[in-house]
Amino acid sequence: MMTLRARVARSRLWPMLHKEFIQMRRDRLTLAMMIGIPAAQLMLFGYAIRTEVRHLPTVVLDESRTAESRALVDAMANTGNFRIVGDVPDRATLERRIASGAASAGIVIPPTFAGDLARGRTATTQVLVDAADPLASSSAIAAAAQVAAAHGARLARERGAGAPRLEVRVRPLYNPGLRSEAYIVPGIIGVLLSMTMLIITSMSVVRERERGTLEQLIVTPIDKTSLMLGKLLPFVLVGFVQMTVVLLLGDVLFHVPARGSLLLLYAITFAFIVANLGVGLLISTVARTQAQAMQLGYFFLLPNILLSGFMFPRAAMPEPAQWIGLLLPLTYYLRVLRGVLLKGVGASLLWGDTLVLVGFAAVLVTLSVRRFSKTIE
């Protein structure tokens, strides 16, 4: 039996990797595009995109627990902007839910709420909004103001002159300036990686098929795993370069900070990149020509852009669209990106999404290696 060390040294992966890197270095145009595309995309999306939102998942911290406080929560829900997803016992839990992305807003009703109303004092309620998504939060702010006015007017009608005033204070979390760039820039990293990783890998394998070099390669004893990993791994590096370009430009041009750990972000990104390369490889086992690979790539890309929460908050989508979104690695990765970059959250809140991404990567790569056949039929 060969030792593990000898086996690693004799693996056909090394010559494959070496060859891929030489070819990548010689293909200057593609190399330039890998840097140019992220820059162009960043400008395009960063300056151009705005949207509107309803049905924000909302948690309630009702410390008043009275008919009055429940009426207020109902009034909030009736605006259509808030969808109540649960009650929380304390403020820390509420903020945790928002930080993890489980909820986008929180309504806090203080214990004194009903008492203040009864005594004719100004009753205050607070709405916390995840302003990392400024579109969602601006509609939440508008809705909260509307509820304060309407509910206040109704109270006035019911109780006559000298009725208490109702005040709803909105506190945007994470992105107090409500700048949509802050929302869009992290998303661009995800969309960009999906797009380039997917198309580059599928094209790279299909190009070999078209040129006839794959035929010459598969009559050798090279194993499928070495062949596929050799195609895949060099692009991981490309992905990291692209991500770094967007992060740097995002900081310089749009002042989008990175609040959390970049090391953590790069680590999770590895799984996301491999998942997308896996999709690319899978496409390459189906497509016979580069044109087909391109078309299949765009077919996969469209739901990524529309349904992942990159442009439009998922909360605003009809349910079937949300289910499709759950099948996309980007959906999970966007939460990681926004969590780390805008909210500065750590691994403890991201492990769920990370696990899903690792699962996607493992399944997709295994599937494409299995599907790949060393024949030319």
Binding site: P15, H18, R26, V219
Partner: protein, 264 residues
């Protein structure tokens, strides 16, 4: 590595080998035996099933039915054992245009399992034997047809295979390069390599001690070039070829059922 195949076994052995693409029959009832050390020619017009046959023998295509054993292993169940022991040069240049001669050769020798000093020694030997040394650092895409063909031969023989498949190796190569290529083939044969070559250059047919003639996917005749001409009652191999091609075309025009397909 598993044990080598017993020497008594033929290098290539097929029985009732058949390949269809949908309703097209590319190869039909092929019984072929090639002994070890033979230089064997597979002749026939375009679309007669030569390339499909080679691809099945290399494990690139799965036979629809029938049996094929190559260097003692079954093509459907043991393709990797076969791949370790054979070399293959496809009809179209299948190496990397954007790698140099040396990089291509190094890549293929590594893929065939050569490493370190052993590999570098073999590379130097190959480039020297095939006269490629002066072009070692030239991009393969910029080579002329004859040089590309030598490079392809270098890559296909890096691991000293005992059986070599050459699919139309001299297509699109000038006469001087063709001649020197045949000299290289003669050297390989002298060292005991079994070689199966397809060609439609009939002047090359005389170089083979034994040939098989395919037409429309069927084996028409096997033997020495003299036996073939006698079998058809025609003066030269070229006449046989033209006669077969002629009937092929008549069949195609009259819409008669066709055995061979144009599949590559």
């Amino acid at each position: 590595m598993s044990a080598p195949a017993p020497t008594a076994e033929p290098a290539i052995h097929t029985r009732a080998l058949r390949k269809t693409f949908g309703s097209l029959v590319a190869v039909e009832s092929l019984d072929l035996d090639v002994a070890q050390g033979e230089l064997f020619g597979l002749l026939g017009p375009n679309g007669s099933g030569k390339t499909t046959t080679i691809r099945m023998l290399c494990g690139l295509m799965r036979p629809t039915s029938g049996e094929a054993r190559v260097v003692g292993y079954d093509v459907t169940t043991q393709p990797e054992e076969i791949r370790r022991r054979i070399g293959y040069m496809s009809q179209h240049f299948g190496l990397y245009d954007d790698l140099t001669v040396l990089e291509n050769a190094r890549f293929y020798s590594s893929v065939y399992g050569l490493r370190g000093a052993e590999r570098e020694a073999r590379l130097a030997e190959l480039l020297d034997e095939l006269g490629l040394a002066p072009a070692a650092h030239q991009l393969a895409g910029t080579l002329s047809g004859g040089w590309k063909q030598r490079l392809a031969l270098a890559c296909a023989t890096a691991h000293r295979p005992r059986l070599l498949f050459l699919d139309e190796p001299t297509a699109g190569v000038d006469p001087a390069a063709r001649r020197s290529f045949w000299e290289l083939i003669a050297e390989l044969t002298a060292r005991g390599t079994t070689i199966l070559v397809t060609t439609h250059y009939m002047d090359e047919a005389a170089r083979f001690p034994r040939v098989a003639f395919l037409s429309r996917g069927r084996l028409m005749s096997v033997g020495t070039p003299e036996e073939i001409t006698r079998h058809f009652g025609l003066p030269t191999i070229e006449d046989v070829f033209i006669a077969l091609q002629h009937t092929d075309e008549e069949d195609a025009l009259s819409g008669a059922p066709r055995g061979g397909s144009g599949a590559r």
